[in-house]
Subunit: 697 residues, 2 copies
Amino acid sequence: MLGITGSSVTSRPAEGRRVRGRGGPAIGVPDCRRFQEGWVLMSFEAAVHAQAIEIDRLSLEMCAAAGSGHPTTAMSIGHIVTVLMFHAMRWSPDYPDYPTSDRLVLSAGHGVPAVYAAAAILGMKVGKNPSSRRKLTEADLANLRAWESELDGHPNPMEGFPFFDAATGSLGQGLSVAAGLGVAARLNQSDRRVFCIIGDGESREGQVAEALDFIIDHKLTNVLPIFNCNEYGQAGRVSEQQSAGRLAAKLEAYGFEVLGIDGHSPSQIKAAFDKFAGGSTSTDHAPFAVVARTIKGWGAPSVQGGGWHGKPAQNEALRKAQGELDERRIELTSSLASSDQFTIQPPSGARNPEPAPGELPSLSQTMRALDMESKLASGRMATRRAYGLALRALGQVNSEVVVLDADVSNSTFSETFARSQELAERFVECKIAEQNMVSVAAGMAAAGKIPFCSTFGKFVTRAYDQIEMAMNSGANIKIVGSHTGITLAADGPSQMALPDVAWFRSLAKVKDHRGNPGCYVLQPADAYAAYALTGVMADYEGMCYMRTMRVDTEFLYSDDQVFNLGGFEVLSEGRDVALLATGYMVHEGNRVVELLDKAGISATLVDMYSIPFDEEKLLDLISQNNGYAISLEDNYGASLGSAVADAVTSSGDAFTLEQMYVNRIPKSARTTAEMLQMCGLTAEDVVKKVMQLLQVA
Amino acid sequence: MLGITGSSVTSRPAEGRRVRGRGGPAIGVPDCRRFQEGWVLMSFEAAVHAQAIEIDRLSLEMCAAAGSGHPTTAMSIGHIVTVLMFHAMRWSPDYPDYPTSDRLVLSAGHGVPAVYAAAAILGMKVGKNPSSRRKLTEADLANLRAWESELDGHPNPMEGFPFFDAATGSLGQGLSVAAGLGVAARLNQSDRRVFCIIGDGESREGQVAEALDFIIDHKLTNVLPIFNCNEYGQAGRVSEQQSAGRLAAKLEAYGFEVLGIDGHSPSQIKAAFDKFAGGSTSTDHAPFAVVARTIKGWGAPSVQGGGWHGKPAQNEALRKAQGELDERRIELTSSLASSDQFTIQPPSGARNPEPAPGELPSLSQTMRALDMESKLASGRMATRRAYGLALRALGQVNSEVVVLDADVSNSTFSETFARSQELAERFVECKIAEQNMVSVAAGMAAAGKIPFCSTFGKFVTRAYDQIEMAMNSGANIKIVGSHTGITLAADGPSQMALPDVAWFRSLAKVKDHRGNPGCYVLQPADAYAAYALTGVMADYEGMCYMRTMRVDTEFLYSDDQVFNLGGFEVLSEGRDVALLATGYMVHEGNRVVELLDKAGISATLVDMYSIPFDEEKLLDLISQNNGYAISLEDNYGASLGSAVADAVTSSGDAFTLEQMYVNRIPKSARTTAEMLQMCGLTAEDVVKKVMQLLQVA
């Protein structure tokens, strides 16, 4: 069923050395044999049609074999994918993730059968382990969506298809990823070009608008958005608002030069890509965008129209569509000469790896270097400010660290990085558009950068789906949410991050593709912790979420303190009750310890700065406190307290845990003290709870 | 410090009867005394300036008193707010939430001091309890952001300021809320007009683009977006992409007729609002949008420019700004005649309340009425399909039920509602734009509708911030996510809702303003449960999240089964171990019970369809099973299992809980059975875990 019968014309790049990302030896260039001789446009047309029809046929057949999938979407981009993968992109099928390769981000991920088909025809290397990849064959296509297949239902690089940089399929995210790849390429002085195919229906997602603004703001002429206007969504026709005409008008209003094409005309596609290529290293013109009018189910009228979204043609319907494609082949490829060959240009040579990162100086050293001695001597500083200082110091010792913010850099203190002249180039202002920011970061991470994204923890929520997709993509991104919890007080609940720990904790309970927690949740209680943990995040390959606070808090630690992912710190050793606190509540916990001490109760205070944490060690601690524990956090529940509850119940010990957290929707108050009172989280409230727990009168 | 010294010209609407939402007696119209006599444009100009300057001054002073806030943003909208609240809007300060009143949604919520100032001048009624509201005074303004004040840091209707329909402050959401109010007004055949002020920087949020498309799609000429282009964001200048010129060009490309104005020119503001008003009941023209060029800190040059975002002017800086405003007053209000008065037109009469909802027929009745007897007899049906049937039946007995979907109504089965001719008008297609969908629903809920929003559970994530803001707004919305968990198999992780329970559970742990859980999380395991719980959600006033499954599942219940928020159902009573399952895992649990029975182990199977649940009752059950429990769910952790752990640890009982959940990032597989195997969640895996737990060889 699957097997090439057409007149496919292919190139096979020769062997070359392959090097993964940063840190390796000097990088060689994979070169390609070239076949292009006496190429004329007419035979190019025919050759593209031949290949696209082959891709369409394979798409239909692999979805039929899988029993699911979106063949008609794939057929709407068959020609575009052909021109990209066989001609326009500079890449090597042997090294699909070569660091300078041109990239294709398939934002409308459900069209992926087209790319799988092209990859099989080209014998692209697949496999999770870079050292043991194999050539994809057309026979493999029959395993689309199977458990052991690298060909996942939607683009999924971590499952063995490294041609892609990002998992897509949740719509509207790809153009932002492409923009991130574009920004990274520019920082790397690479001439890599980034193509992104976006569905018309998908372009309704607001994130696409955010990405368009970002591309114009940053003059990313090395990124080409290609809107695939096939007119059909899932439940119905695409809105007139996302029609080719309206999209073109919008794109022009955004500031793009729009190239409108017939998405099934090889020469028109080629002309658009050539125009883009010609201008991709210059920023003295407007970025280009392609609006391609296409047909969903091109070539096979029997599967066109509204009823065929996400539905494989089976049996008779499949045979009918195959027959229709055969007719198109005869009609469109008669001029094809057997000597015609596509040429895939190789990528340019990768730069030498960056020098290994230097050591992060201590917080005191950094502050002294910035004439902040009096602040240091004050003994108090907000964790967000320490984060900014750490970013700046990190930026100086690690050239891959980049920082993104969403118009609040003066609140998150990422401006401390941005304001350093030597680092400013690596600061990416994303304006008020958090979804785009996170996906841009995922794109930059795919290019080897270590992105730190900052905004208010509340606004990070906007990008949770993007964060989950970044986790699925294996993206090495660090997210830092400021103004977490209730202590910011006066601005009220619209600015407070409250259910964020619960959500990230769920990701923390997953093993990522590297076998680590899908995300670490870090809650530094003081400036030293925030500073050190920022360094820890940079050293670690994987996703992290760190929460910082608006308010100044007292120093609890010093430069010498070591913080580890998965760690916690005992600040005060007692024997009657364990107070397990995070963030601001560690400070309130110190007051509790004093008050309890006066009442003759000996409390242990633990700074639970990491989720997950060492459960066994914590259970020992609770055991040493007669099995009594109270968790303290100034966010909504299902968070730290539940993490402790999980540990306790898996042990079966008869421990008693009281969880104290914010259990009402807060409102504004003028001071942090009032907020704690409003939410029942003052030291006095905790003391009362301890008394109840220990059944002390 | 606070007190009117200017020549403010006010109107005081007379007393009128006030009626709250649905269900009350026939509704009277509050009328207003009218003062408008011999009004001429020049004195209108002067009167608006006088009032706006007063608002500006009060804004400065209240923020100074609060020690925080955004006075300069407020000053950029002082004139617009004046023309709206003193002239253009048809409303009554005595009945700020009168159901037919024109509405103002302040999307850029940080500008709220301007509205508070106007409300104080007008003596608008405030207070959480509708039956004991009091007139706001200018003295109250000094309590801005204080704990006991109704004047929260950002618009917050549930804290006693019912002029607003939605909590805002997390940016970019207001226009969608306004659109929801507009759709509801049209459904109610109300001539209410909806104004929405959007910041220029804020309009970078993609949700604004989604809302604009939605307004054009639905021809909402009764909604007026007003873009406040004051050119300064928080950390820096607003991007050129959000400049007045670029915004106007974009809006035209979207399909709006753009009214560009000087946002400090009373006559230009009035002309724009008049034009909008003239066309607000007709859909034969393009919707209007206003692009207002304004000055951040208008009237007081000493607080203008980039350094004054979110910063109150204090002491000398305050006095200087006050002095500058006084100069503007002298300059701009000299032509004011003492007889000039603003007229606030009253809202039109509210419609009679809808008849009380009828009783929901049973699932069997509904299916028989739709000729689905053979499906019913099959004994299997997907929960998503039952949801669709429930929507349709509900729609027929409850005229306030409305349904929204995001281009996947044929997957969520909300199409079952949409395809009924009599209900089609109440189906709102939102296309692929989930953020907008949820905020539109919040707007419709504020107008008394009971909106059900459906899309894939995965894509609901896009709108988590909007959902939290809807909770803060007290919005009575129901969110239904389909394709939850891993059982959908082939499409892969980009389509699976996995950390969703963890996030919603955090909201479930909060008390909302009515004293109920901030959100109920419902996980029906069969069609009868899904059907009944849809009805339960409609009857309940508050937010709910229900998860449905893609796959067909066997019937577990019948028409007679009663489901309650907070309930669970024991399906099989045993004595050795309690299996606490949700969704698909209830079915797998049935297999576990059989397998264990063969091994001589007697298991209790519980369908944990609600979070929160009755904890005491559950602990009794676990106790009856020797203190052994296993939680079973096919999503990420920190979810049901942690909810049980919370209950267990608060009791201090020595129970042992094993949590089984998805602890890896899944990939595609062809079948549900393979997915369960991939994630270690087959009945056999559970049996093995039980054996370990009970220490049976």
